[in-house]
């Protein structure tokens, strides 16, 4: 059952990426380019995705279990550390250079275009570099944004 639900989740996600046209890097770059003919489409797409996903996260955050009885694995919401900030900034540079983030990179691969293959190989290589785990960082180097009340 969990394999079917994961597959269905993937189909919905991939179908949504296609329908929103955000698999086309030009549409992403048109959102990121605030100094020219700015196109807000990515914002509408992201806002709609967040609004639809919000109730589901609210439910599982409280129950801590999925509807199939699996223990939920929700990431820490409050830890603030250097890897989060530095990693997000590095991702931002790559995203701004190309207009491609990991989801669209995979969709683009389905055409086996030379550029898409080069991007995906580089993406995989970047992911295979061992990163210092945030959990192993000294506690003194971490900050908590807010102590959860429960």
């Amino acid at each position: 059952m969990t394999l079917i639900s994961a597959f269905v989740a993937g189909v919905l996600f991939g179908g949504g990426l296609l329908l929103s046209r955000m698999s086309n890097p030009d549409n992403v770059l048109a959102f990121l380019d605030v100094a020219a003919d700015w196109r807000p489409a990515l914002l509408y797409t992201m806002a709609a995705a967040v609004i639809v996903a919000f109730p589901a996260f609210w439910v599982v955050r409280r129950s801590q279990r999925s509807w199939l009885g699996v223990a939920a694995e929700l990431p820490d919401r409050f830890r603030l550390d250097a890897p989060l900030i530095v990693g997000s900034a590095i991702f931002g540079v790559g995203w701004g250079l190309s207009g491609i983030c990991p989801g669209p990179a995979l969709l683009l691969l389905t055409r086996a275009d030379r550029g898409a293959i080069i991007f995906a190989l580089a993406l995989a290589l970047g992911m295979l570099v061992r990163v210092p785990s945030a959990e192993s960082a000294p506690r003194s180097r971490q900050r908590r944004l807010h102590e959860p009340s429960h």
């Binding site: 199939l68 890897p83 990991p102 290589l125 944004l145």
Partner: protein
């Protein structure tokens, strides 16, 4: 090619489908639909219990396999694509998430950590595009 004119209804419906996918994965599997995390763990040899990460990625690719990715081909020169790919791969793993994991799921989960990550990667990406296109840092 340049950007397309996308009707707002299409952007919203596409986003709703993305959100529905994220909702299904958290409701039934108790997992976050973060593509960099899912892909990164598979690459490190961890497909998850039952191989659910493979099942998710197979589903993700199905619409594009049937209909095509909707893009002709990438126009950017290959050294730029290779550099950008490396940065996206390394940055998303170091920062524990990308547009899907932090931008959609983390924000929907009201995670301050994801608000910060999303603000940083969108802001830095906007700055990068500005420098490349309008400040003469790239041709």
């Amino acid at each position: 090619m340049g950007p397309e004119q996308i009707p707002i209804s299409q952007s919203v419906l596409g986003g709703a489908l993305i959100g529905a996918g994220a909702a299904v994965l958290i409701l039934f599997n108790g997992r976050v639909a973060g593509i960099s995390g899912i892909l990164g763990r598979i690459l490190h040899g961890d497909p998850g219990p039952g191989g659910w990460r493979i099942a998710f990625l197979s589903g993700l690719l199905l619409p594009a396999l049937l209909l095509g990715p909707g893009v002709k081909g990438l126009q950017a020169p290959w050294p730029l694509l290779a550099t950008a790919g490396l940065l996206v791969g390394f940055g998303t793993r170091l920062g524990s998430g990308c547009t899907s994991g932090h931008g959609v799921c983390g924000v929907a989960n009201l995670s301050p950590r994801s608000f910060i990550a999303t603000g940083i990667f969108i802001g830095v990406a906007m700055l990068t595009v500005f420098l490349a296109r309008h400040a003469g840092w790239a041709s």
